[in-house]
């Protein structure tokens, strides 16, 4: 059987590029990543080159859609990337985040003792992971949503979903029009910790038992020393795991499956699911994803680091 090709085109560093061959439900896949070092024009050129020549494309290092409550916001820079692709299905991972990550938190709540009710959870950003945010709230966790802290530099912890929605409604319609690099680490910023802000915002990390959310955000503001915190995230490489271990994280829980020693971004895995479903994107529902995830026996990977 010919392998299906899924390529993730990322605004992140090309240093993380890789390729793996893997099989899902008997279907062979060739999965690869192509980083464009924060260069939008290069990303558009890469997308045009791949369009029509692969089975699915994932957009990495950027979200197209943010969902907060019932409201959808569209990041304009990401829309330019999406519009460069005319034939091949292209996904940003938001569909999978809303299903898989919600399920992961439910799994942790029901099947482990890692997040009992009252657990203090810092989500570095919730606007890009509202499903996960809702699931932590459902599990009875004591939340801090760090969207203002880490994306805007405002040391104000948002504590409820209602306040998150209220602030998102004020800010996101305009923030989504800004150059993406102003609100999210792209390119070389993904390879480094912002030590000054990490020190300034360290108390938010240290007060929490669980640090959850996008790994580039988690890493960018990672304090010099953690105190056994549980990290719940998606995309990690072996060097990321070493960094977390060195800095004192207790557990690493990754929401997407590990292939060749690394977990892939939700955009990649959503691309795999779309290629497996072989349906038009507009016809795919959250239940399609959930059904497929169950058939694939997806479970979070829980790793003790310290």
């Amino acid at each position: 059987m010919a392998p299906k090709r899924v390529v993730s085109v990322s605004l992140g560093s090309s240093k993380r590029d890789h390729r793996v061959d893997v099989s899902f439900l008997g279907q062979p896949f060739e999965i690869s990543r192509r980083g464009t070092d924060g260069d939008m024009e290069k990303a558009i050129a890469t997308l045009k080159e791949l369009d029509g020549n692969v089975d699915a494309i994932g957009l990495g290092g950027i979200d197209v859609y943010l969902y907060v409550g019932q409201q959808q916001y569209v990041i304009q820079d990401a829309l330019k990337l999406l519009e460069a692709v005319k034939v091949t299905p292209v996904v940003d991972g938001s569909g999978l985040k809303n299903t898989l990550e919600r399920e992961v938190v439910r799994y942790l709540s029901r099947k482990t003792d890692l997040i009992p009710p009252g657990t203090k959870v810092l989500m570095v950003s919730a606007a890009d992971r509202f499903g996960m945010a809702e699931a932590f709230v459902e599990a009875g966790c004591d939340m801090i949503f760090g969207d203002l802290i880490f994306a805007m530099g405002v040391p104000y912890p948002i504590r409820t979903l209602a306040e998150l929605e209220q602030i998102a409604n004020k800010l996101l319609p305009e923030i989504c029009k800004m150059p993406f690099h102003m609100i999210y680490p792209t390119g070389k910023k993904q390879e480094t910790v912002d030590e000054e802000k990490a020190a300034k915002f360290a108390p938010f990390y240290k007060e929490a038992r669980v640090i959850a959310g996008d790994f580039h955000m988690v890493r960018r503001f990672l304090p010099a020393q953690l105190e056994g915190q549980i990290i719940v995230t998606n995309t990690t490489t072996p060097s990321d795991v070493n960094l977390l271990r060195e800095r004192g994280a207790g557990y690493l829980i990754t929401t997407t499956p590990e292939l060749d020693g690394r977990s892939f971004g939700t955009n990649v895995m959503e691309g795999v699911l779309v290629a497996l479903l072989a349906k038009p994107l507009s016809a795919i529902t959250p239940d399609d994803y959930l059904d497929l995830l169950r058939r694939l026996n997806f479970e979070p990977k829980i790793r003790k680091l310290n």
Partner: protein
């Protein structure tokens, strides 16, 4: 073209919008900055000073180099500080420039959106 007095009135409205918002003041207690607002088509300069979460307005340029400089034509400045337009639109059209550290520019946008956003 708007007059210096109109820019002044719009900045008073902006300061009132800010200072009447207790949450916004609390959010900015860590951010002490001076912002020079200069019109490009009329002789008009103002200084916004953020200190300990409070925002004050004075006429003229600050005594020391400002952290941020907002440059725009008088109509754009008035529209912006009255909240009739968001910063994004005049940025993209080139009618507005904000000079300073990127983090500070983002923070000023944040304040503006928190006062006047939907």
């Amino acid at each position: 073209m708007a007059l210096h007095e109109e820019i002044h009135e719009s900045l008073i409205a902006f300061c009132e919008g800010y200072n009447n918002n207790a949450k916004l003041k609390a959010m900015n207690r860590d951010w002490d900055r001076t912002v020079l607002v200069r019109a490009t088509d009329v002789d008009s300069e103002h200084t916004l000073t953020l200190k300990g979460g409070d925002l004050t307005l004075s006429e003229g340029a600050p005594g020391e180099p400002p952290h941020l400089t907002v440059l725009g034509d008088s109509e754009t400045l008035v529209d912006l500080f009255y909240g009739d337009i968001t910063p994004t639109e005049p940025y993209l059209k080139g009618n507005l420039k904000v000079l300073g550290e990127e983090d500070d520019v983002l923070r000023l946008d944040f304040i503006s959106l928190m006062i006047w956003g939907e």
